[in-house]
Amino acid sequence: MDTPRPRIAPALLAAALALPGVCPQAAAQAPPERAQLDVRWLHYQDSQPGLKRIRVDTPSIGLRVPVAGRWSFEGVTSYDSVSGASPRWHSSISGASRMNDERTAGDVRVTRHWDRATLSVGGAYSSEHDYVSRALSLRASVSTADNNRTWSFGLGRADDRIDPVNRVVIDERRRTTDLLFGVTQVLTPVDIVQLNVTHARGEGYYSDPYKSLDKRPRERVQTAVLLRWNHHFQGPGATMRLGWRAYTDSWDVRSNTLTGEWVQPLAGGWTLTPSLRYYTQSAANFFYGPTYDPTLGEPFPVGYLTDMGALRSPDARLSAFGAATVGMRVAKAIDRSNLVDFKVEYYEQRGEWRLGGPGTGGLAPLRATIMQVGLTHLF
């Protein structure tokens, strides 16, 4: 492998982690040369002024092993512990209800590798006390003879079952079909770009059974276009990773997401990665803001009595807002086989941060801190 600059532990680990190894391609086609075990913990806490809201702790374990030269197996299992307070509508503190939940999730994937192609099949399962999700997926990729371009295809199907404890509905279903088409292109020895298009069509129960007056369409069609560009600067030995996602759906939510990361290797096996993310979205066409009917008061929207069966939702996630994330990741390659990393991100969501139109007024800002610590072991 061509290693232009001597770099001690990070270079060794980089070489070990680079899956195709000798001859890198636009996307990995060869099975991993070594098995990889990931152990990770995610801690999430969000708040709005005057109220600590949801706290999530997620330990997870991931394993990826090469099998018989032409196959690989991946498996991930995680456990979410969710607790805190969730507003019954909008961001009203007085309406917040206490909640505790657990979610266990697992998925497996088996991949067959050829010289310039892969085919994989995967299954995912997750379970909460009121929500069970099962999903199957098929993925394929094909590279050109020079390995500079890789085409990717994906097909997924999820079958979710919803059984809320308040029995607002019983044994509801949501079925979703996902499609992915992608192309990854090597542009120069230091530039690689990727374009992905995903399309999802879902039918079934989308309402939030725990939010007053929440009634959503029984169908959602979502399309996202993601463009990513990684550029390596040979001078500082750093890599810039940029991304832009445009999203639209049948509920009239349109969003744009910009992401940027700067991966800076340092001496002694350390790597620093500062990151930024900006997100902006329009409101769903059935979202109603915190302006209430003068007669009925909170949480009834204006004119509620004239059309009680209409689609509507006070869920702030369907409002018009902008959001920003600032993050920093610190990683340390201990030796050729072990890497530890720590990442902290601060996230804030506000109506007035929306671009391209007015944001929803009157909602409390949402702030969150996300921390992750991980250990990667190769064997």
């Binding site: 001859c23 997870s60 997926s137 500079n148 199907r157 996300i370």
Partner: protein, 73 residues
């Protein structure tokens, strides 16, 4: 940023007129082998990050298919 990206794409494909980027040879791909140059680098880490945003925002998609759903409230 989008403009810069489009500019790079234009430059990348401009090297050979309309026929796409100049083919990068196998021996020129040392930097591309770095894990941070891959789009699936840190897969478990990126999966966990990607799990957070769809539960707090109104959009999802762009990276994969067949993920498990949740009743994230």
């Amino acid at each position: 940023m989008t403009a810069r990206l489009l500019l790079l794409l234009a430059i990348g494909s401009g090297g050979t007129g309309c026929s796409g980027p100049v083919a990068v040879q196998a021996w020129e791909k040392g930097e591309l082998a770095r894990p941070e140059m891959r789009f699936d680098a840190g897969s478990l880490e990126s999966r966990m990050s990607e799990q957070v945003y769809p539960s707090k925002e109104g959009s999802s998609g762009g990276t994969g298919v067949g993920g498990g759903g949740c009743g994230c409230n």
